[in-house]
């Protein structure tokens, strides 16, 4: 009766105009802000955070999953100086991850065809 819908954990609440990502610049710290990813969890949070850590322009990045029943990720990003802002480094990180993902799929298909070829080659020789 009081249980929320299971789909509420991963589908955006369109009735309340929920956007996927929202940004709040930090009032005290320069070149820093908090991105809120709605209806996301560690699957994407940890992936993006690790990629951001590889960028030398990033001074600080950390993410938080406030509570298992609250379905959002808060990610704080601070860049080294004013030349790049947090939004740009985030976009770059997600872009790099998308390229890597595409590569993964290609490599997987290549590896599978190579494996199947070797299998057929072996069975041919055994016959």
């Amino acid at each position: 009766m009081n249980a929320p819908e299971r789909t509420a954990a991963f589908t955006l609440d369109e009735d309340n105009d929920e956007r996927k990502i929202t940004y709040l610049p930090s009032p005290q710290i320069p070149n820093a802000g908090t991105f809120t990813f709605n209806k996301e969890d560690h699957t994407m949070g940890n992936l993006i955070r690790h990629q951001l850590l590889r960028n030398p322009n990033v001074h600080f990045v950390g993410y938080m999953h406030p509570h298992p029943l609250i379905h959002r990720i808060d990610m704080k990003i601070q860049t080294r100086d004013g030349t790049t802002n947090p939004g740009d480094v985030l976009l770059e990180a997600i872009d790099d991850l998308t390229t890597e993902c595409g590569q993964l799929q290609e490599k997987f298909d290549d590896a599978m065809s190579k494996f199947e070829e070797e299998e057929h080659g072996n069975t041919g020789r055994n016959m």
Binding site: F37, L104, M112
Partner: protein, 321 residues
């Protein structure tokens, strides 16, 4: 500047229900995300709505419906010639253009069995209703009753056992299946096992090892329960065992024994066993609903789709700012 990595993939073994492959030159976060996607985000088919017309069996309607939901459903992909990704043909009902359900978003199953259908023998006390009795409205979708023909031959039932009937009992219901992902309910989970382990990186400190006696070296080799080391017969030196990469489970025994053997606590270790930070061995075991290669492909594809969607949203935010 782009900081992307160039991952490498090598298939170790592939069978109709298990796939093992090695992913390397990438970060542990990518491996973990892939594992999470394999478990939670791959769309599969499962029964979601059950309309019971007659049920005089010993199980309650909702108990039966739960069991029906947990049956893995297979979709035969004609292009791949094996059981594959149902999202190629089906859509989720909330994304579908139809109003009230159509063959593109729901698959209907009927189950109508009474005791007399199953046996003529007057001495039989109970008969079993199994997943083989489910009749599908779509010829490409069927319940995954067995993992292999061998299992089917050795089985006592004709499929996954649902309920047993006694004389005079009757079950007649209609069930509708839809696409969903494991985040919503575990019945949509395509894998029984989706895990990865780290390849070990072993460094042997040869100068320090050569100062040990043969007995001490044998002690070191014996103390590790995984037996990842061995003594060379000729030279008496410690070497790595042939299949140490598969056997290592990163126990602490070697470390503790070395602490007692060292001259002083600050000395370097003789043997260090570390988890690799960039090489992972994945094992994907399917429940029978899809070929594990198709599951992995689907997970990688969904990962890319999700990242593309996030990229679009992020670009939108940046323009606003």
């Amino acid at each position: 500047m782009p900081n992307n990595r160039f991952p490498k993939l090598h298939i170790l073994s592939s069978s109709p229900h298990t796939l093992t492959f090695e992913l390397s030159e990438t970060d542990v976060s990518v491996a973990n995300t892939l594992r999470r996607m394999l478990i939670a985000d791959v769309p599969t088919l499962a029964i979601d709505l059950v309309s019971v017309h007659e049920n005089t069996t010993c199980l309650l309607d909702e108990y039966l419906s739960h069991r029906l939901g947990m049956i893995p459903l297979r979709y035969y992909d004609d292009t791949a010639n094996r059981y594959g990704d149902p999202s190629k043909e089906f859509r989720e009902p909330r994304d579908c253009t139809c109003e009230d359900g159509c063959p593109k978003c729901w698959v209907t199953f009927t189950l109508g069995v009474q005791f007399s259908d199953k046996t003529d023998n007057p001495n039989t006390k109970t008969v079993s209703i199994t997943s083989a009795d489910l009749k599908s409205s779509n010829s490409n979708v069927s319940p995954a009753s067995f993992l292999s023909e061998e299992e089917e031959e050795n089985a006592q039932e004709e499929g996954i056992s649902l309920v047993k009937l006694a004389r005079g009992q009757h079950l007649y219901l209609e069930a509708r299946a839809r696409l969903g992902c494991s985040k919503e309910h575990a019945k949509w989970c395509p894998v029984a096992v989706a895990t990865y382990r780290f390849i070990p990186e072993v460094t042997l400190n040869t100068p320090a090892l050569s100062k040990l006696t043969l007995k001490q070296r044998e002690e070191l080799v014996e103390c590790c329960p995984d037996q990842i080391l061995k003594i060379d017969d000729v030279t008496g030196q410690i070497l790595l065992a042939e299949d140490y990469e598969d056997k290592a489970t990163f126990t602490e025994d070697l470390h503790y024994l070395q602490e007692s053997m060292k001259g002083s606590p600050e000395d370097d270790n003789f043997i260090t066993v570390k988890q690799s930070e960039s090489r992972f061995v994945f094992t994907v075991e399917s429940t029978g609903c899809m070929h594990p290669v198709e599951i992995t492909r689907s997970a990688m594809r969904r990962m890319e789709e999700k990242l593309i969607m996030l990229k679009g949203e992020c670009a939108g935010i940046n323009e606003g700012v």
